[in-house]
Symmetry: D2
Subunit: 345 residues, 4 copies
Amino acid sequence: MTAGLTVIPSIMRASVLTAAGSLEVQERPVPLPDPDQILVQVSAVGVCGSDVHYYREGRIGDFVVESPMILGHELAGRVVAVGVNVDDSRIGRRVAIEPQRPCGRCKQCRAGRYNLCPYMEFYATPPIDGAFAGYVAIQSDFAHDLPDNVSDSAGALLEPLSVGIAAIRKTHIRPGSSILIAGAGPIGIIVAQTAKAFGASEIIVSDPIPERRARALLFGATRVIDPMEDDPSQLEVDAFVDASGSPRAVDSGIRAVGPAGYAVLVGLGSPTMPLPVAHIQNLEVIVTGIFRYTDTWPTAIHLVSSGQVDLDSLVTGNFDLDHVREALESDRNPESLKSIVHPNL
Amino acid sequence: MTAGLTVIPSIMRASVLTAAGSLEVQERPVPLPDPDQILVQVSAVGVCGSDVHYYREGRIGDFVVESPMILGHELAGRVVAVGVNVDDSRIGRRVAIEPQRPCGRCKQCRAGRYNLCPYMEFYATPPIDGAFAGYVAIQSDFAHDLPDNVSDSAGALLEPLSVGIAAIRKTHIRPGSSILIAGAGPIGIIVAQTAKAFGASEIIVSDPIPERRARALLFGATRVIDPMEDDPSQLEVDAFVDASGSPRAVDSGIRAVGPAGYAVLVGLGSPTMPLPVAHIQNLEVIVTGIFRYTDTWPTAIHLVSSGQVDLDSLVTGNFDLDHVREALESDRNPESLKSIVHPNL
Amino acid sequence: MTAGLTVIPSIMRASVLTAAGSLEVQERPVPLPDPDQILVQVSAVGVCGSDVHYYREGRIGDFVVESPMILGHELAGRVVAVGVNVDDSRIGRRVAIEPQRPCGRCKQCRAGRYNLCPYMEFYATPPIDGAFAGYVAIQSDFAHDLPDNVSDSAGALLEPLSVGIAAIRKTHIRPGSSILIAGAGPIGIIVAQTAKAFGASEIIVSDPIPERRARALLFGATRVIDPMEDDPSQLEVDAFVDASGSPRAVDSGIRAVGPAGYAVLVGLGSPTMPLPVAHIQNLEVIVTGIFRYTDTWPTAIHLVSSGQVDLDSLVTGNFDLDHVREALESDRNPESLKSIVHPNL
Amino acid sequence: MTAGLTVIPSIMRASVLTAAGSLEVQERPVPLPDPDQILVQVSAVGVCGSDVHYYREGRIGDFVVESPMILGHELAGRVVAVGVNVDDSRIGRRVAIEPQRPCGRCKQCRAGRYNLCPYMEFYATPPIDGAFAGYVAIQSDFAHDLPDNVSDSAGALLEPLSVGIAAIRKTHIRPGSSILIAGAGPIGIIVAQTAKAFGASEIIVSDPIPERRARALLFGATRVIDPMEDDPSQLEVDAFVDASGSPRAVDSGIRAVGPAGYAVLVGLGSPTMPLPVAHIQNLEVIVTGIFRYTDTWPTAIHLVSSGQVDLDSLVTGNFDLDHVREALESDRNPESLKSIVHPNL
């Protein structure tokens, strides 16, 4: 490990999930980067719904937190050291982190679908620690340089933007397409902005909550509907993205898709849902989902740096490492959209 | 209309569905071909599950038989006359008929998806008459010349083979792929043969009935399973085709699809089915269906003519126009696979 | 033909190419729309390089002007009458015209590639008359309603924009991609704008003429290069579009394309050119060309109406029917970009 | 390194290219497998045109043999030892080797195009040694188990079959397609067989030498033509593969491709060739090339094991390590097709 000028401590503070509902700030050893890794001093970490889920339930589906774990996987920071195989010119750079470590050798990796690597190590997914901590290590290739005009918080939120980009790519929309998005939470809002950046001319966001609909109009939606009043299935759109996880929204959204259009399911809900099979058949609708992302950070950085996507305005709360609980609980406030933890504040 | 040497009568016999469950042989005027059409003396007509459904129920979903209608849409015959804009060299040719008439001008037609044309006129779909009759008219471009080594019955069964080709195309399989097919009825058997012709190396057919499983092994399956004993969802295949319409088969079949694989729903069942959404998301499975076909007859003819697909052996019963009822009822015999009506026998 | 309130004359004025280099304003009968057509009073017609070529040479490749022909195929106008099968609500609408009439029935049409229809009738391509005339007829489906904020001239220039859209679609660029465009003439400028609308983050335009490079920077280019000084082949881009027809530009442009990238040849030059085959092989570059377009007008209208593409600023000269010669000669002025003929001025 | 029961020597014999035209059998240390590698005792090595080229010229384009190098990259053998991270159940297995080592981490690798990895180490490409030697090391994932019914020689020839599969995949042919193949040498013959396995119904092979045309008919061609007598450009096919490297064949072959068809350039010839650009544009032909392959061995093994492709019959000469020169010179005999070197004979 080639050290830079920064003095790197051997011990860091980290917010550790010790049991469902129980967080504790502990001292942990600063990770040592592997030969192909870098060490990053963490500046900003976004709070994701999955963090909240692990915090509250201690599990997501088959992924169970069985020993103390650090949450947080949306992050940006500054490179403070590099592994032996990494050029030390990276030291000092501000970077956004793609928080995954695929094996690089399995069938999925070799096919360009490293997000589906069965040997994946992903931040804040048991038993891999995440980023509510002073420092993290990541492969150099998965730390993406940030332009000066992208803030630390926006750098952290490139992760949910990557989800939006992965979803929109699978919709196959292009300039002039129409799209329906169910759910105006953080992901729905990001998907709407991404759809706009990909050229969609009609971006309809459906959400039952008036405040969320109003917010969607500020972030790319050309029209909003209340699904309790206007049945989305009466629309005809080129593509549908579900960012709600609601079975009713998924059903009506798929029904809104016209001939040979795409429905991409992003929201997490029940593992099984009733889907409109006859509609899928009669119109040859293509239904799929996304599992994380591949090769999205360069695009995400471009979209933010060029001003096409606004991530800073999504931030509704900032917290230090001693207030991660408050960050994780902030979703109880309907005004809240994205909370950011600053571990080195 | 340029007449050939054949004397064409003005009246023909036809088996007419007068009400659900009620068939009657009637005299009908021989159709006059439009300028771009040909007149075909019908040799062989396959009985499709949809014919049986209309016969028994008088409707399929939103398609309701409201006035007497002729069933039958899988057919071959001989050209006996041509419309004014058609070269009369076609007269005398044996042809298989693609029984649809898209508008050729709408958005779907212009995009190459003429099967999804909202103005489609399709044989034996209310209110369009089908082919249990002495003669039919069809656009010349949709009557495909038959090689000598393809029988009339096989020519008729190019229609269900087209369904199989359309389904297999959407699976994206290629030489060396693995596929699971649910249901060993006529469509399942044809899909299995088509999968083999497209190069699949592993073709697993699932069906609860032993006789049907045994038959599948004769027509391309490399392995058969009884879904009551072996859970198909424990497999990992590149693609799945449902030819059963069974919700349980659809669910377990989709679960059998590996990363980024395809599930194509062909069987008609309930308009809504519970699907394994979490599996679709976690493995980015692509789920779609087919609605008829585009541009399949040339491929179908090649597959049969070259011996890669055997349609003749699927025929388990032959009937004349006075026994269409028996043809339609033959599915009650579990040994029956495909019945053929010969209207001019 | 259902006439609207407008009194439609039976005779119109038209600028007729009577021989290479020879134009004459003649009286011609106003065309009668077929049942599926509309009659359009022409407002604006763009001058295309192919018009100039026919005017000067009397031919383009195998297409030879053998009898007097009306040029012009980039146009907008107002619907004044409709064929019997067209809803007369169209009368009075401002429309942009997609100046082609595919057969709708051949193999190419059925595959969604109607631009490659061998039976195509295309405006101003011998022996089909074009639009330097008071009125034209076109199938209703190929006349696209114009929003109020799209001018007549911009409506006419949706045709070259369609060329740009067809080219950019084939480049497969998406937000964040880089592209090199050779040639800063009208098509190059439009391709640059289209690339920007499709999200390209780096748009490099190469042209040897300083004034043209300066103009490119006003219309989407993020960087311009003089190919006489900077070798384009030293770049590495995701995609290349040739809008120059220059063998040297084509060669160096293809060499600039990185692994698995696309090169789309739009410019017309020599029918055969030396291409860098080893580079194409070693990097698996995909080289193709475009022949007109399919399904581009809705996208083109959206791009202009939303302000993402500026066509009005491309217009550098306006002419009436008596000055078509001057319009065709205006390309001799290096300041000229697009000339518009207004036949009913 | 976990050793199996086989006693592995520390020294092996190898045929070393010491200078252009100069081969020498030398003793070399047996390679030590890296943690993710296996050690393979080489059974059979095919002679490729590139081996012959390096032998005669000492270089291929920019790749120059600057120090003594072992040739040979088409090979099969038996696993005799494994690296520390490889399961030792692999020991004793007969394997075919995919002779490349991509980095697994660069942009191309992450995109699923590991063949285009700029950090690739490829057998028998300077400075990486090849397989005319007793033993080689390879990553375990790139050694593919051979079924009993695939011989060692066929196992070696899975490498050129992989070239054929990579080429045919890029042609997008499917059952019923037509294809023209220029050149009936080893690659042309393999491409013809592969085209048949992928379902092509019309496989036209063009070669000026009668004996080679006759041989093509034994290996999948449905028709052969002498390009000196029948102009291939008069054909209309769905796809073209050049396996000749002849500019004339490439030009006429591309001209033979119909609307929206594919031309794939495999043969190595001049780095620049005149191509029919107007034809490419007017018919929107897609021209590309291949550089090696990704993920082809499983398919190749299936095609050979199932009897769809016959590689054993391509072998026209067998040589031991002391006769590599004769193997490399055997292409001077027009009867020769593929020579195999058996390093441990």
